[in-house]
Amino acid sequence: MGEAPDEELMLAYRGGDAGAFETLYKRHRARLFRFVLRSIRSRSTAEELYQEIWMRVIEARSSYVPKARFTTWLYTIAHNRMVDHWRRSGLSLVSLDDADVPVAAADPARQVEGREALARFAAALERLPAAQREAFLLHEEAGLTVAEIAAASGSNEEAAKSRLRYALAKLKAAADG
C-alpha cells in the first residue's frame, strides 16, 4: 500500500481502510503544513487551519471521486479553507490578488541570524501578495503545475501563470540580491 497512488489510497479510505488514510497522511503532512504555515505565518492559526483541512478531507471521504490528482483536490480544500479564514479576517477575495495579507511580525525563531540573503528571501516571500505567494507555494511546495494551481485556487490558467511569474521574479531578485 506504501507505493499505491494517492487516489487509490483515498478510494481505499473511502471504502473503510483507515490504514490507507494513514499512508496518505504521512505522504502529504509536511508539505501541506509548510504550505499553510507560510501562507498564514501565525503558527497557532496555521496549526488550527491545517487540522481543519484534514478534518474536511475526513468528512468528505464518502463523497470522494477522483476527478483530478489527489494533491490538487487536497490543496483545493486548503485554498478554500484559507479563503474562508481571510474573508473572516475582513479581506475581500479581490484584495488577495492585489495586496499583501497583513500579518503579525515574523516569528523571531524563524529568522536566521547572520544569513542576510536568506533573511532577505524570507522577507520577499512574506511581502508577496497572497495570491502570488499561494501560486508560488503550490508550485514549489506542493509540486502543482500551472493548470493544477488554477484548479486549486479557483482561477484560470492565465491568471495562475501570471501570478507565478510575478512571484518568481520577485523571489529571484531577492535571492540574487
Binding site: 503544513f33 480544500i77 528571501f121 523571489l171
Partner: protein, 182 residues
C-alpha cells in the same frame, strides 16, 4: 517556463526550513480518521430504533391531544418520519462523544457528530423554511443558489450557517461571490 523551477529560488526556499506539524496534531487527525471508519457500536442501532419509536408515539399522542376535533389526523403520518430524522443523530452524537478524546475541542466534536450522521439532517424548526429547503436539496449548484438568495434577502446568519454546512459537504467546491458576499 513558469512550469520550471528556478534552482536558486528553490534552494533558498528549502533553506527556510522544513517545519512539520507537531505530533499531537498528527495523532488527533489520525485518530479522527480511525473514528470515521470504526464500525458503529452494536447497541446504537437498536437504541436508535427504540428512540425513534418512542418519539413517534410521543408525537402521535401529543398531536392527538392538541387536535381533538380534527377529522382526518394527518400529523401522525408525519410523526415517524420526523422522529426518525431526529433520533439517529442524538444517538450517534452520544456515541461520537464517547469516542472523542477529552483533549479535543468542542468544535471538533461537532464536526465528528456531523460526520457520523451525514444522511440525517439536524432537527429543523418550523420557523426556518429556508433552512429546511436547504437541507432537502442535494445538488450543490442549487444549494449555492439558495445561499445567494438568503444573502439577497439579508438573512446572513442563515446564509453563513448554510455555507458552513456546504463547505463540509463539498470542501473542494468553488463558491461564487454571490453566496459569499454580505
Amino acid at each position: 517556463m513558469a512550469e520550471e523551477r528556478d534552482p536558486q529560488v528553490s534552494r533558498r526556499y528549502r533553506e527556510l526550513g522544513s517545519e512539520e506539524p507537531p505530533p499531537s496534531l498528527d495523532q488527533a487527525i489520525l485518530a479522527a480518521s480511525r473514528r470515521s471508519t470504526a464500525p458503529r457500536r452494536r447497541w446504537t442501532v437498536p437504541l436508535a430504533v427504540a428512540a425513534a419509536a418512542m418519539l413517534a408515539v410521543g408525537i402521535a399522542l401529543h398531536v392527538e391531544r392538541e387536535r381533538p376535533d380534527t377529522a382526518v389526523p394527518a400529523a401522525p403520518a408525519e410523526a415517524p418520519r420526523d422522529a426518525a430524522r431526529n433520533a439517529p443523530p442524538a444517538v450517534s452524537g452520544r456515541a461520537a462523544r464517547e469516542l472523542q478524546p477529552q483533549a479535543e475541542t468542542r468544535s471538533k466534536e461537532e464536526r465528528s457528530e456531523a460526520q457520523e450522521a451525514p444522511a440525517a439532517p439536524a432537527p429543523i424548526p418550523q420557523t426556518a423554511p429556508a433552512a429546511r429547503a436547504m437541507s432537502d436539496a442535494a445538488d450543490p449548484e442549487r444549494l449555492l443558489e439558495q445561499i445567494a438568495e438568503l444573502r439577497k434577502q439579508g438573512r446572513h446568519e442563515e446564509a453563513d450557517k448554510a455555507l458552513e454546512d456546504f463547505r463540509r459537504r463539498y470542501p473542494d467546491y468553488r463558491i461564487p461571490e454571490s453566496a459569499l458576499k454580505k
